[in-house]
């Protein structure tokens, strides 16, 4: 019985911080994110055999966390809208282009923004993002390319 818990503990230590960041970003509330993080690892303990067979353990955990987060959002909308949540990051002597970039990211289509965040913020590979979102890897690549091109366009507009 304790073997399973110790195995889950090692997963928690390895992937917990990234999952917590993701859940905080998704739900917009720290306490909700922490509760969902615990629930994610309860699910992980119940499905350790399946995790072992998964292509990527990290992707599997992100899938569970994403489902739990989306369900939580359905029950209660976040108190801080996403655009404000991204834009409200405290800035101390930062690059003046960062603010327009945050706005540009916030205004990206949701699917593109989600893929971009998984790649740049959580460090997931294309394949892992595809596993989490349940789409082909080509779709992930396409979304990321569109997102980057969109950001470049916005950045050029701001610079001009």
């Amino acid at each position: 019985m304790d073997d399973r818990i110790s195995e889950v503990r090692s997963l928690y230590d390895e992937h917990g911080p990234a999952l917590l960041r993701y859940l905080r970003r998704l739900t917009g509330r720290r306490e909700v994110a922490e509760d969902l993080l615990q629930e994610t690892f309860v699910q992980a303990m119940r499905s350790l055999e399946r995790i072992g067979k998964a292509h990527s353990r990290r992707a599997w955990l992100f899938v569970v966390a994403r489902h739990l987060g989306i369900n939580a959002l359905r029950r209660a909308r976040p108190t801080v809208p996403l655009i404000e949540a991204i834009a409200a990051t405290p800035a101390v002597e930062e690059d003046p282009r960062l603010e327009p970039m945050r706005r540009a990211i916030a205004e990206l289509p949701e699917l593109q923004r989600e893929a971009l965040q998984f790649r740049l913020r959580d460090g997931l590979s294309y394949q892992e993002i595809a596993d989490v979102l349940g789409v082909p890897i080509g779709t992930v690549r396409s979304r990321l390319h569109k997102a980057v091109n969109g950001l470049r366009g916005r950045l050029k507009t701001c610079e001009d």
Partner: protein, 173 residues
């Protein structure tokens, strides 16, 4: 190289998703194509800015490992498994009785007659035939015959003490 393909390769490189051997080939290509190199620089700058914009300075403090919650979940799961197993066994028993009743139907008593009241008794006329013809009705010989035959007068009963058992006849020779 096709400009669209080149752009895709440059974005993959900026996102850090390009295999090392492809990266070497792309770097070699960019060395000889300054326009493409300038565009590549622009893409990498945009991706780097996006990376910085997405990185919030606040470090997420990981809460303590929820060991107690996991143990509680394990206990709940165990109870749930046991309950399901017990329910499965109970369902199997009920199905077993049902199948038995379906494939081995028990004999049912006649309508209007309860199983406990079904008693077969030898009639007195039968006994008179067994007693000698020359013995009178009030004779001592006849009385002795009756006493001697008393055990033979035991009743025959239809016993049906369970709905799932075949009824049996008690007292039948």
């Amino acid at each position: 190289m096709d400009s669209e393909t080149l752009e895709k390769l440059m974005i993959d490189r900026a996102l850090g998703a390009m295999p090392p051997d492809c990266e070497i080939l792309l770097a070699a290509y960019l060395e000889t194509h300054p326009d493409a190199a300038a565009e590549c620089g622009s893409i990498e700058q945009a991706v780097e800015l996006a990376r910085q914009a997405l990185t919030d300075g606040s470090a997420a403090t990981l809460p303590a490992f929820p060991a107690e919650r996991l143990r509680e979940a394990q206990r709940t799961d165990w109870l749930w498994r046991m309950t399901r197993a017990a329910a499965g066994i109970a369902a199997s028993v009920v199905l077993g009785f049902g199948a038995h009743a379906m494939f081995f139907p028990a004999a049912t008593p006649e309508t209007g007659m309860s199983a406990s009241s079904l008693i077969a008794v030898h009639g007195p006329e039968q006994r008179t035939e067994e007693i000698g013809e020359d013995a009178g009705f009030w004779s001592g010989e006849r009385l002795r015959e009756q006493v001697a035959e008393a055990p033979r007068q035991e009743t025959t009963r239809l016993v049906w003490d369970s709905p799932v058992r075949v009824p049996r006849i008690r007292g039948a020779s």
